[in-house]
Symmetry: C2
Subunit: 167 residues, 2 copies
């Protein structure tokens, strides 16, 4: 029994570590986005680089796409993959900034609900982009690892979005 408890504690701990990081970066991103004006979000983060509105949409839709990879059921915005993942910035007509802000908030809310409903052991199951055969060889390619990768991805673009803040 003691050993089983230790297993559970270790898993709990690691899930807590990964979820804390995910929440921290989402919270930082939300705070930053809320602090930026529509005009700032429509600006390029650096000359010739992605605009704020594109990066916010990109991060939201990448989070929405986790529904599929995590096996959480129907996504909310599959039709926006074209705009924010498959195509570069400025290649399709802009959604209104207000709508992109709503998408950000809505995706974060829905994803948070799904994350909170996950049992600790579910995080250690394979995500849908890994085959059964590969997962036997590479058991670290689980759902928690996917969330950790998404956290670093958010951090990467957050470093760019912060360039919209006036100096």
């Amino acid at each position: 029994m003691a050993e089983t408890t230790q297993v559970d504690n270790t898993k709990d701990l690691f899930v807590k570590m990964a979820l804390s990081a995910w929440e921290m970066y989402n919270s930082r991103a939300t705070k930053l986005i809320d602090s930026l004006s529509d005009e700032q979000l429509l600006s390029e983060t650096a000359p010739g680089r992605n605009r704020g509105i594109y990066l916010v949409g990109h991060l939201a839709i990448v989070s929405d796409a986790m529904y599929t990879l995590m096996g959480w059921g129907e996504r909310n915005y599959p039709h926006l993959d074209v705009t924010f993942i498959k195509s570069p910035d400025k290649s399709s007509e802009d959604l209104p900034v207000k709508e992109v802000r709503e998408i950000w908030r809505n995706v974060l809310e829905k994803v948070t609900e799904r994350i909170n409903a996950m049992k600790v052991d579910e995080w250690f199951a394979k995500h849908t982009a890994v085959s059964d055969a590969d997962f036997v060889k590479e058991p670290h390619r689980n759902k928690l690892n996917l969330l950790m990768n998404r956290t670093s991805h958010m951090s990467y673009h957050l470093g760019q979005l912060v360039y919209l803040v006036k100096k």
Copy 2:
């Protein structure tokens, strides 16, 4: 015995997940830095923002500072905290770009040696910036968590360094 093995496997798995991410971002950063000319590294990542040379030095010295937090012994570049952590870019005389490149490579090599020498259980011990009392309440503030935070920190600045690549 079965339970003990499971504990070990679970911990091994976590450590592998966190180390894989750390190695991936260090490898991406090294590849990017090596691909940039000295002139590019001396440029600002965006108008009025940190230059490449500062960000490379900053990331290297933050990694070097892990020696203290991890309890790995004497750091290699404590005297560079002033230049690359405590002061903003352009506030002290530049080191030659060649030297900053060498510092990057040297820190990565030394830190990798230390990481490879860590036993799995050591990653779950507290780092030196957490008090014993806090660690009892917050056991997720361990050395592996610190490494995960450093991975996201590297990713954040990598998103900025990539703006030095010519379009």
